[in-house]
């Protein structure tokens, strides 16, 4: 077997795949954050908790209702999305006229409540969720073994990400959305119900997080704190990419996942921090982010 820089190809491609998977989650989560931020001007700190809730909906609907993975993939975004809409209608919408920092503080508090609640109910250790029968097994590609489920995660997240990009950049609804991001008062004057659009956008961003949570359930264990540390990495991804561009969020998410995977191969000690270090470097060179507009 040949070796690359002293690393067996199995390990290299294995880590690349893991990196790609992590990148898929970074992409989906930072996409949701960017969509929410664009219209609401709020950084949704609850995003990690909502991702976790998605995974828990999958776990609970399987253990209590006997509903399989595919149902969870449909149910979790709806349920958690409705929860998000409830939050937006009862609390978040009071903050739009205030300093943006209050939105951050409110959603931080909500994240503490949600994560604390799940920790009370289910403890902090992970709960197993098995891979659905249709997606077990894998393919031998010659140079590596590719588990079907992981291939599915990458493909599905790419489809979801580009679907979102298409809706926002290429449809009439997306045009309203982009217009409202630029100037909500004017769009409202044209007869578009902007407050309802804001509510639905928040619901959609949250639903995206829940969808990612269901996808993550069979890979990582389902645990109350699974989103807490992830969300900070996603923040760094958002800072690196800049929130001005949907495509930018997707590319940055996948790219950083792969870089993180490679770091695990070549310099494992830094794999936890590499994304933060990249963020620091990007800030010195291009403070607005790779795809961002200056704020």
């Amino acid at each position: 077997m040949f070796e690359l820089l002293g690393i067996p190809p199995q390990a290299l491609f294995g880590q690349l795949l893991i990196g790609l998977i992590n990148g898929a989650f970074y992409a989906m989560l930072s996409l949701g954050l960017a969509v929410i931020f664009g219209l609401l001007n709020i950084i949704n700190f609850t995003h990690g908790a909502q991702y976790m809730m998605g995974a828990f909906v999958a776990y609970l609907s399987l253990t209590h209702l006997g509903l399989a993975y595919w149902w969870a993939l449909l149910l979790a975004p709806i349920a958690v999305g409705l929860f998000g809409i409830l939050l937006e209608r009862t609390m978040l919408h009071r903050l739009y006229k205030l300093d943006h920092l209050y939105g951050l503080l409110l959603t931080f508090g909500l994240a503490l409540i949600v994560e604390g609640f799940f920790r009370n109910q289910y403890g902090s250790s992970g709960l197993p969720y098995s891979i659905p029968a249709e997606l077990r097994g894998g393919y031998n590609l010659g140079f590596m073994f590719l588990p079907t489920y992981r291939a599915w995660v990458v493909v599905a997240s790419v489809i979801v990400c580009f679907g979102t990009w298409f809706v926002i950049e290429r449809t009439k609804l997306g045009a309203y959305l982009r217009a409202a991001t630029e100037n909500p008062t004017l769009v409202q004057a044209f007869g578009v119900n902007v407050p309802r659009m804001v509510t639905l956008t928040y619901g959609f961003g949250v639903a995206l997080a829940a969808f990612a949570g269901v996808m993550a359930a069979p890979i990582y264990q389902v645990s109350p704190l699974m989103g807490a540390n992830l969300i900070i990495v996603v923040f760094a991804v958002v800072v690196i990419g800049g929130m001005g561009s949907i495509l930018g969020a997707i590319v940055t998410g996948f790219g950083l996942g792969v870089i993180e995977g490679l770091t695990k191969v070549f310099y494992p000690e830094a794999s936890n921090t590499v994304i933060f270090v990249i963020m620091a470097i990007v800030l010195t060179i291009k403070p607005a982010g790779l795809f961002g507009r200056a704020t």
Partner: protein, 315 residues
């Protein structure tokens, strides 16, 4: 100081001098350490309008440095705390230099992300003791004279440090430098157009805040004779935000009151485990929705002179 502030300050000093004869000194010292930490944080968020979500990095790493130098190198406590303060300031210089490139929520996200580097460093570095932290740190003798093993000796040392930090923050806020900071908070582009290099002011405020957070962290590691991962975690950054918010952003006494309230609550609820997190989250939500001026801000708004209270957000 105006008359009202001076009377409140003297009352606070009198209360704190007498307190250890009534209340448990370790509890009071914990309150004072967090009060100093919150005052340092408030200098930045309340008077420059910069919300740092990474202040645990300065607090916690200073704790490690103080604990390590006092235990392993046998340094006296005053030098240990001094080194902790230097650590906080140096880290503040690096993190602040990077973070002030962006404003608003980006600033918060950047400080949070950078503080995670410090956290993972503390997890991996051999000298910080990983999950165990640095335990049984000797308190030693202050200037070779005051025995800090005695509860009251330690208490009055912590009190002196707290009061020095409190007065320093007061002095900074009421100096010409502080006026420029407030101008940046109110309208940064306008301050720039008046010819101030706002980035330098923001960076200096950030370093001062990080240094004071370092003093608080170093002192706490001597009080509890322990430096651990709890103090560098992002949850700790959230706690100091909560304390300042509850007490009142941008008020002199707010962080002190907020720290007292939150530490007392944690003490009473310690046995309920993760309920503490839920209740803290709940307080966050209630404060943001209905109580943005905080305890001291509300009191000043009701009883203080007109215009004395901060407005509590709104741009």
């Amino acid at each position: 100081m105006d008359r009202g502030t001076r009377i409140t300050f003297l009352a606070m000093v009198a209360l704190l001098v007498a307190a250890p004869y009534v209340l448990y000194p370790v509890f009071l010292m914990k309150v004072l350490c967090f009060a100093l930490f919150a005052c340092a944080f408030n200098l930045l968020v309340g008077y420059v309008g910069l919300l740092s979500f990474g202040h645990a990095a300065f607090f916690g790493s200073a704790g490690y440095v103080t604990a390590y130098t006092v235990k392993m190198w046998g340094l006296p406590p005053e030098l240990g705390i001094l080194l902790g303060a230097v650590t906080g300031a140096a880290l503040g210089l690096v993190i602040g230099w990077l973070a002030i490139r962006r404003q608003g929520i980006y600033f918060a996200m950047i400080t949070l992300a950078l503080s995670q580097i410090v956290f993972f460093y503390a997890v991996q570095a051999p000298w910080t003791g990983g999950e165990d932290g640095i335990q049984s740190v000797p308190r030693g003798h202050l200037f070779g004279v005051v025995d800090l093993q005695r509860p009251l000796g330690m208490y009055y040392t912590v009190l002196a440090l707290f009061l020095a930090g409190f007065l320093l923050v007061y002095r900074i806020i009421h100096s010409p430098f502080g006026q420029v900071l407030k101008a940046i908070r109110e309208n940064e582009p306008r301050t720039v157009s008046l010819g101030y290099e706002t980035d330098r002011y923001k960076l200096l405020a950030f370093v001062l805040s990080a240094m004071l957070a370092g003093v608080a962290g170093g002192t706490k590691s001597l009080v509890f004779q322990l430096a651990s991962l709890t103090d560098v975690q992002w949850q700790m950054s959230g706690e100091v935000v909560l304390m300042t918010l509850v007490g009142g952003l941008g008020t002199i006494f707010g962080p002190v009151v907020g720290a007292a309230v939150i530490v007392t609550m944690q003490n009473y609820l310690a046995e309920f485990g993760s309920w503490v997190t839920i209740i803290q989250g709940f307080i966050f939500v209630v404060c943001v929705l209905t109580f943005r001026r905080g305890i001291v801000g509300e009191i000043m708004g009701r009883f203080g002179p007109k215009g004395a209270a901060p407005t509590g957000g709104g741009h």
